[in-house]
Symmetry: C2
Subunit: 198 residues, 2 copies
């Protein structure tokens, strides 16, 4: 299976980066073809420009490549820390620039852009793995876990991906090395279960 | 009153930019001192770096200035479009880089970063004005309006701002010029009501 794996964390030494590496290894060991983007390391430009907004706008080669990869992906895996109930700006910019009309969704004829679009993505399953320093009960009671709706409903359902799985590893900041080792194995097991060998 | 006004939209011709201009004029006419940032026009760098994460990290002069202005603001007004239930990456990066520990919040002694911090912001009221191309009933039923929790709970309550007001102007894409004129006046009236002359 052709799987797109995207990491959005400023530090190459982060636990998020370790999760992404664990995910990549697990998927490749099962024979999947993994396209991996460490957005920070690649210097991805997260800023959508005004001229890039129209559906038929010319795209720079990097954005065009990301769009092709997204459209062709049969599975999508995203790894990022919870920054203010949202992804870091880097990853938000990947969404802004790559989930384009004509690539990820389209409005039906007669729809001026205010209606219910049709999702265009080929992927049947999207997986989001998060890290957080907030305990789950506080996240749910105080913050309402905006990341769940953001990824599941606003993005992947909108773009026609029917299945969604998300897991948050927490609390990172006070975790032991042994705990983090278990979490990395848990991430690998989760991906082996969700994307079994074809 | 010292009010920080921040605009996050890629286009200077956008309705968001017009709202920000209407807000600025209304506030200045009441005698408020408005610090205005059009993040796109200023070329703000939205990417937090790994070395910028620690609380005592040295900041570049632009980020340091934004932090000082945020800390000193008595009122905060943010204007942005709804992109995927979130702000555009540019504005998300302003949050990532400016709402820092020691500036916007601090963890209490003995808290390793996993607990309930103390908000440090001086502002007593934050206002968020959004634009959207989604009707309100669909936003609430399908997407769950993540922007409400993101701004109200994840950010401003967390950072000690007790009062919060948010309004979404919708649907922009199919609106008439006359409708948009009314919305601009509505934005001005809202700010005159929320930030009356001292």
């Amino acid at each position: 299976m052709n799987i797109l794996l995207v990491l959005g964390h400023p530090s190459g030494d982060s636990f998020c980066a370790a999760i992404a590496q664990s995910a990549r290894t697990a998927l490749e060991e099962l024979g999947h073809e993994v396209i991996f983007h460490d957005l920070y390391r690649e210097g991805f430009d997260p800023l959508i420009s005004a001229r890039e907004i129209p559906q038929d706008a010319p795209l720079d080669p990097v954005a065009a490549r990301h769009c092709r990869e997204l459209a062709q992906a049969e599975g999508i895996v995203v790894v990022h820390p919870n920054y203010w109930g949202q992804p870091p700006a880097m990853l938000k910019g990947w969404i802004d620039r790559v989930f384009r009309p004509g690539v990820a969704y389209r409005f039906l004829e007669g729809d001026g852009g205010e209606g219910v679009p049709e999702g265009l993505l080929k992927a049947r399953l999207a997986v989001v793995l998060n890290t957080s320093n907030t305990f789950e009960d506080r996240e749910m009671a105080v913050f309402g876990d905006p990341l769940e709706n953001i990824w599941r409903k606003c993005l992947f359902q909108f773009c026609g991906v029917p299945d969604f799985y998300r897991h948050t590893f927490r609390v990172i900041v006070t975790s032991s090395l042994e705990q983090r080792r278990q979490w990395l194995e848990e991430a690998a097991q989760t991906l082996r279960r969700l994307f079994p060998r074809a």
